[in-house]
């Protein structure tokens, strides 16, 4: 998708500005850096705003105010936090495995950022259009676990180690029900291409995959949502960083910008799983109406479709993010073994059964 745009820009430049004659490799590299920067900046921005939103939501749920001093309604709080974190000393414990300790936050962050490369943000808008988009997402997001284990192991702190181990066990277990949910969607759609999956849900609400084979796809959707919450370590599954039990979990020993990377990774991941939920089950950037409102009002321009599509996509994804925040500030957390029991004894069998039923239904 991005390549097409870069090619188009190159063509345009060659036609209109004949002086420009750069080698193809350099051309792509430069543009990839620019787009990469945009995505990175967007994600950091989102992480900051999400952290702010989380605190406001928490304040709302707990009958208090939350941050409201920096900027209008405290909106610039994330800037203040960011500056503070940048200025903090980057502490490395004496007992740490220094190399791994330094790399771990980046590994985790790359795992999160990598997911964004395959997300279609709107019609015509996205970084790549991978044929195996879903598989790629499943694969790249596993880097997060490696980052967490690295952090937990290299900190040289027993609490961090416990947190890292818990986290590894949890995320690996929950990837299985998530995989089953993906499989069901792949079965229905017959493709792993994210854009094609969205296109198959065109029309209106009734064409969304969540309503395709009622109530089985709905159950699959619910399972995906629960499992993805466990995947991003949110309450009631925030066991890896359970403060009252194992202090800060795997990021106990981190400070400054490295800590900020964990933080941004967490919020970025939250958005990523929400976005995937909205793409796979709720039609991504498709309008819930049979038409795009802006197109209906102002004519059939591709730009308007893209803008409105992006709006729908954001609305769907952010409502999941809000739901996760709401749950976090309401529920207690599970214990490690209860969490595993929930995954292996409840979610996995139910998701398998649903997949089977959907398969049979499709064959009929």
């Amino acid at each position: 998708m991005l390549k097409e745009y870069i090619d188009a820009i190159k063509l345009f430049a060659e036609q209109n500005l004949p002086v420009i004659n750069v080698p193809v490799e350099l051309w792509y590299t430069v543009w990839l850096f620019i787009f990469g920067g945009v995505v990175l900046g967007g994600m950091m921005m989102f992480a900051g705003l999400a952290a702010y939103a989380e605190r406001r939501v928490a304040g709302f749920l707990q009958s208090r105010l939350g941050p409201n001093r920096v900027g209008p309604q405290g909106l610039l709080q994330f800037m203040a936090d960011g500056i503070k974190l940048v200025l903090k000393e980057d502490l490395i414990p004496a007992a740490a495995d220094k190399m791994l300790f330094k790399i771990a936050p980046y590994v985790l962050f790359i795992g999160t950022l990598g997911v964004f490369a395959a997300l279609p943000f709107s019609k015509y808008v996205g970084i790549t259009n991978l044929n195996l988009g879903l598989l790629y997402i499943l694969a790249i997001s596993s880097l997060v676990v490696i980052g967490i284990i690295m952090a937990g192991w290299s900190s040289g702190n027993k609490w961090s180690l416990l947190g890292g181990m818990r986290s590894a066990a949890q995320i690996i277990s929950y990837e299985i029900p998530i995989g089953i949910c993906f499989l069901t969607i792949i079965m229905i759609a017959g493709t792993m291409n994210m854009n094609d999956i969205i296109r198959l849900q065109e029309g209106s609400v009734i064409n969304w995959f969540v309503f395709r084979y009622p109530p089985f796809t709905m159950i699959i959707f619910l399972i995906y949502f629960i499992a993805s919450m466990a995947e991003v370590n949110r309450t009631p599954f925030d066991i890896p960083e359970a403060e009252s039990e194992i202090v800060g979990g795997y990021h106990t020993e981190y400070s400054g910008m490295r800590f900020a990377f964990f933080y941004m990774g967490e919020y970025g991941n939250m958005f990523a799983v929400s976005a995937i939920a909205s793409i796979l089950f709720l039609g991504g950037w498709q309008s819930p109406l049979p038409f795009f409102i802006l197109n209906e009002l102002f004519g059939d321009y591709a730009v308007l479709t893209a803008i409105e599509g992006f709006g729908w996509f954001l609305a769907k994804a952010l409502s999941f993010v809000f739901l996760m925040m709401w749950l976090r500030w309401t529920l207690p957390r599970y214990r490690v073994d209860q969490l595993m029991a929930l995954c292996w004894k409840v979610l996995l069998p139910i998701s398998l059964a649903c997949m089977l039923v959907v398969g049979v239904w499709m064959a009929l």
């Binding site: 707990q62 009958s63 027993k158 416990l162 818990r166 009252s244």
Partner: protein
């Protein structure tokens, strides 16, 4: 990894834990320092855990970080002067500590306390009990990972602190009671405000029970965790809500009535094993929730019956009780708070020993924690609701 079946076994072990532990522990054991700066120590308690992965094989509580030598200080101060120090025994229920000390000294000096003062004391003590239990509810929520109950608990506690501030000007360490009575009479509007608070809290408690107590995840976490059998509780001298959580109906306000408690009607909630076994963490938690309801009942009755009259008996500035000794105990929110005072006839106590509930309650934690997971240990320790200044004194 240890399979979940064995984990289940491990978490429910109470007695004979050591034998069964042999089967469960396979790996290498390590020592972990939990505290004194751990988020769930409720102050400065250091627990050295011997664990295999997440399963605890032994707990060694290390106390003394908050030792201030209150008992020795008492010998250098006269009876009146020691009153503010009792606030610091248990800062969350300072009124009750004041109360207990007054009872002891009054018994030693055979002082008759005016009826009105007695009622005011009971109102204050019960309001403070509610405040303490509200904080307990919040911290229990934190321990299980729910962040919101503590804010709600503190919000309601704030109203109680307002009432206290109205009366004695203080919000944490009140120094309100005096030997022979209380320092100030209730201010105008106190009775109405207290009544309104009782009405409001009653509704809120239902809400909190729905939010936390009967939350399925919370029950899953708390039921069958840290089961303290009644005989073990008695052996270790456990008192207060943990003892009642184990199903023993023992409350000094009923069993050894003091002050005006015999004139007031209330029940003693005990653990019934509603969600799991009798004496588990959930029972200990729920006993406190029910106690708040009973405290509301007591406060209401006391407000209704509040007689007019003096608030303080005549006690000289230099108070010299006759030589002798006395041990008086009373029901603190955390259990039995006893003062053993030996008088040699001078203005200072010859010896003053404080028996605090938290110390004894804490001693029962290691034996019931063998074979549990760290997560469960946090909960079972939390459900005893110890307060460190009370442990160390």
């Amino acid at each position: 990894m240890i399979d979940s079946l064995k984990l289940d076994q491990a978490t429910t072990i109470v007695k004979g834990a050591a034998e069964r532990l042999e089967e469960v522990v396979i790996g290498e054991e390590m020592l972990i320092n939990m505290g004194p700066q751990h988020p769930s120590t409720h102050g400065v308690l250091n627990k050295v855990l011997k664990t295999d992965g997440e399963i605890i094989s032994e707990v060694f509580p290390q106390i003394g970080y908050l030792h201030r030598g209150l008992e020795k200080m008492a010998e250098k101060l006269n009876y009146h002067q020691f009153m503010p120090y009792t606030d610091r025994i248990d800062y969350l229920s300072a009124m009750n500590c004041n109360f207990a000390y007054c009872l002891a000294v009054e018994k030693l000096g055979a002082i008759e306390v005016p009826k009105r003062a007695e009622y005011i004391r009971v109102i204050m003590a019960e309001l403070n009990r509610i405040a303490t239990h509200l904080v307990f509810m919040g911290t229990m929520g934190l321990e299980t990972g729910a962040w919101t109950p503590i804010v709600y608990g503190f919000r309601e506690r704030e109203e109680i602190l307002d009432l206290f501030e109205m009366t004695c000007g203080q919000r944490l360490t009140y120094n309100y009671m005096r030997i022979g009575g209380v320092s100030d009479d209730l201010p105008g509007g106190f009775v109405d405000k207290a009544r309104r608070f009782c009405d409001a809290l009653e509704k809120k408690l239902v809400e909190y029970n729905n939010l936390l107590s009967y939350n399925q995840i919370f029950i899953d976490r708390m039921a069958n965790i840290g089961v303290l059998p009644a005989d073990l509780a008695i052996d270790y001298g456990v008192t207060g809500p943990p003892l009642r959580g184990s199903g023993v109906k023992w409350d000094l306000r009923k069993n050894e009535p003091y002050s005006v408690y015999p004139e007031l009607e209330f029940d003693i909630p005990t653990g019934k094993g509603e969600q799991g076994r009798v004496g588990d963490a959930w029972d200990r938690y729920m006993v406190r929730m029910h106690e708040m309801e009973q405290s509301i009942r007591i406060v209401r009755q006391a407000l209704d019956k509040l007689p007019p009259g003096d608030i303080r008996a005549k006690v000289g500035r230099v108070f010299k009780p006759a030589a002798g000794e006395v041990y008086v105990r009373s029901e603190n929110p955390r259990g039995e708070l006893g003062f053993y005072i030996v008088s040699d006839g001078s203005a200072n106590p010859y010896r003053l020993k404080i028996r605090t509930a938290s110390f004894n309650n804490l001693s029962a934690v290691p034996p019931i924690s063998k074979g549990t997971m760290i997560s469960d240990f946090v909960l079972s320790l939390g459900s005893f609701d110890i307060v460190l200044p009370e442990v160390d004194r």
